[in-house]
Amino acid sequence: MRGATTRRVQSTITHPTGLHARPAVKFTKLAKLYDADVRLRGLPDGDWVDAKSIVKVLALKLKTGTVVEIEAVGAGAEAAIADLAGLVERNFDE
């Protein structure tokens, strides 16, 4: 078996209303484009949730200023991490 690639990155939510409805739609839609398993959590000690589930991502209630960690495991992990962190950094293109 090929060793599953694991990649992690941290990024800060800067949208004034946090990771709310519209950004969460964008974030989970982008995550779903990748085969890799993608997880998200709020630092320092939030629970990991499936980054492809808008229900779970929204329920994290990630407010502005929160540092989040994104982890991808499997095919395309590297690209998934880069794209998702980029979306957060670009303030969800808003």
Binding site: T12, T14, H15, P16, T17, G18, H20, A21, R22, A24, V25, T28, K29, D50, S53, I54, V55, K56, L58, A59, K61, K63, T64, G65, N91, E94
Partner: protein, 537 residues
């Protein structure tokens, strides 16, 4: 029947008179359903979720409005996520009734948001209630049509979800009054975008108010902040509001046609028209683009419903986003105007006998650098991305401006960025009289506060004192002329951002003293442009 007034909060401004339609809670009247086989119940639940999904998709396809599309797209994504029904399906597989399992599972998810301390996340509970109700209606096989509205109807409900709001006939809907509700809800955003007056937080209103044939009711959401639903209005009340509404309608039509046009007087003078903005999310993009920029951003909007003041990162993101939306138009950021009559719970202040003359505006900011510094840094960083200027409220002396300038220079040097333009609100007689000495790049007259300080008459006074708080008083006009003359000699850009410009007589006086840059509330932009086109000067 005697007239009753129910006070509430204005979530979308306007005035409405019309027949009342009380909407019941959507699922409260449905009877419980019998318990079927787990397999059958599971199939019923998944079919109901699919039906709800299709209904939302159909709504989304039928509504071209960007904001409605965003909100419905969010609901669609939620309904398509298997995690939404995970707990309900598990309960059904263990023998629970589909409706009961769904309601319990959604109650748990709604509770996650309902108790949050952030108004934005709190408002998402309503979105989940919307999804819960849609699926329940599908489970019960509800095929009821959206409620039939009489022309100009005023809808009263406990709470309204986005899909129920969107299902109302917008041609016939004059206004909405909610016993619960929130200005941060998706419904409030939609109402503001569509110009439908919305009152929230009315508290429980008795059944009597909901009887059909109760006659017309009035929604008075014309002021900012507090409004009222008037049930059983007296003939005098009806005439009062009816006259305002009729005049408003004719003028509103003409004004609406003026919004996107340049403001030019009958004599051909071009007036720069900017906006006073409280909450940028409440101002649609097309209105921002119809203006010459934001002449007054009341940055306190970032603090509303928050226990703490926003930090540098939050402010930077908000200012930068607004600059992006403005597409190159200028943004004048007024620094926090906290204190005095505008306290904030994150900033405990000593009680003052006369808060209007106390620790407020720039006085408070200079006294509390931990509040001011993050705002200045956020402004400097945002100004690197667009034409942002910083404007100080409640300035009395040049030394205050010099102190801010020193702070601004130091922070800009620390960040390695340029220093934004710095200006002041002219709202104290002291600032008006010493405008020639102020180390500033621009100034803007705050006519409301200037009037109250010149006349020594509180702006919120009642009775005989209220008559004194008149911006057209000769004393105020003389001072205005002095300010305009001083600015002209200094070649200092000068505007006026007080309420005076949004009042017809006030506007004429302001144009008569030679001001050519005004900033008005977004809702007044068309109206003021219309008035300007009629001024012969």
């Amino acid at each position: 029947m005697s007239e009753r007034r129910y006070p509430g909060r204005v979530a979308a401004p306007g005035l409405a008179i019309g027949p009342l339609l009380r909407l019941p809670d959507p699922v409260g009247h449905l009877a419980a359903c019998s318990n079927g086989e787990p397999g059958a119940e599971r199939a019923r639940l998944t079919a109901a979720i699919a039906a709800a999904r299709d209904a939302v998709a159909a709504l989304a396809a039928g509504d071209g409005e960007a904001m409605a599309a965003d909100i419905l797209g969010f609901q669609l994504a939620m309904l398509e996520d298997p995690a939404l029904a995970e707990a309900a399906i598990a309960a059904v597989d263990e023998g629970a009734d589909a409706a009961a399992a769904w309601q319990a599972a959604m109650a748990a998810q709604i509770a996650v948001f309902a108790g949050d301390d952030d108004a934005y996340f709190r408002a998402r509970a309503t979105d989940l209630e919307d999804l819960r109700d849609r699926v329940l209606l599908a489970l019960y096989g509800d095929r009821s049509d959206p409620p039939a509205l009489a022309a100009g109807a005023v809808v009263l409900a406990r709470e309204l979800t986005p899909s129920r709001f969107l299902a109302l006939d917008r041609q016939r809907l004059a206004g909405v009054a909610l016993e619960a509700g929130s200005p941060a809800s998706h419904v409030a955003m939609l109402a503001r975008a569509r110009g439908i007056p919305l009152l929230v937080d009315l508290g429980a209103i008795g059944e009597a108010a909901g009887e059909p044939g109760d006659g017309r009711v009035v929604i008075d959401a014309s002021a900012t902040g507090a409004g009222a639903l008037i049930v059983g209005p007296s003939p005098v009340t009806l005439e009062h509001y009816g006259r305002s509404a009729a005049t408003e309608q004719t003028e509103a039509l003409a004004a609406a046609g003026m919004v996107g046009k340049p403001a030019v007087t009958a004599a051909g003078r071009r007036i720069t028209m900017m906006l006073n903005v409280d909450d940028p999310d409440a101002v649609p993009d097309d209105l921002l683009r119809a203006s010459d920029g934001i002449g007054l951003l009341r940055s306190e909007f970032l603090c509303l419903d928050r226990a703490e003041l926003p930090d540098e990162a939050t402010q930077y993101a908000a200012y930068r986003r607004l600059l992006q939306r403005l597409g190159g138009r200028p943004l004048i950021l007024r620094t926090f105007d906290i204190g005095g009559d505008k306290p904030h719970r994150a900033v405990p202040l000593p009680r003052e006998a006369n808060p209007f003359l106390g620790l407020r505006g720039v006085r408070l900011c200079l006294a509390r650098p931990e509040i001011f510094r993050p705002q200045l840094r956020a402004a400097i960083r945002a100004a690197a991305h667009g034409p942002l200027s910083v404007m100080l409220p409640m300035v009395s002396r040049a030394q205050e401006v010099a102190a801010v300038r020193a702070l601004l220079d130091a922070e800009a040097a620390d960040l390695g960025l340029g220093v934004p333009r710095l200006g002041i609100m002219v709202e104290t007689p002291a600032a008006a009289l010493t405008l020639d000495t102020m180390p500033i790049d621009f100034a803007s007259i705050g006519s409301g506060d200037l009037t109250q300080y010149v006349m020594a008459a509180a702006r919120d006074a009642a009775g005989p004192v209220a008559a004194l708080a008149d911006p057209l008083d000769p004393a105020v006009r003389r001072l205005l002329r002095l300010v305009v003359e001083t600015a002209r000699q200094r070649r200092l850009p000068l505007s006026l951002c007080g309420d005076m410009a949004a009042d017809r007589a006030g506007l004429e006086a302001v144009l008569a003293v030679g001001l050519e840059q005004l900033s008005v509330p977004p809702a007044a932009l068309g109206r003021v442009k219309l008035w300007i086109s009629r001024v012969n000067g």
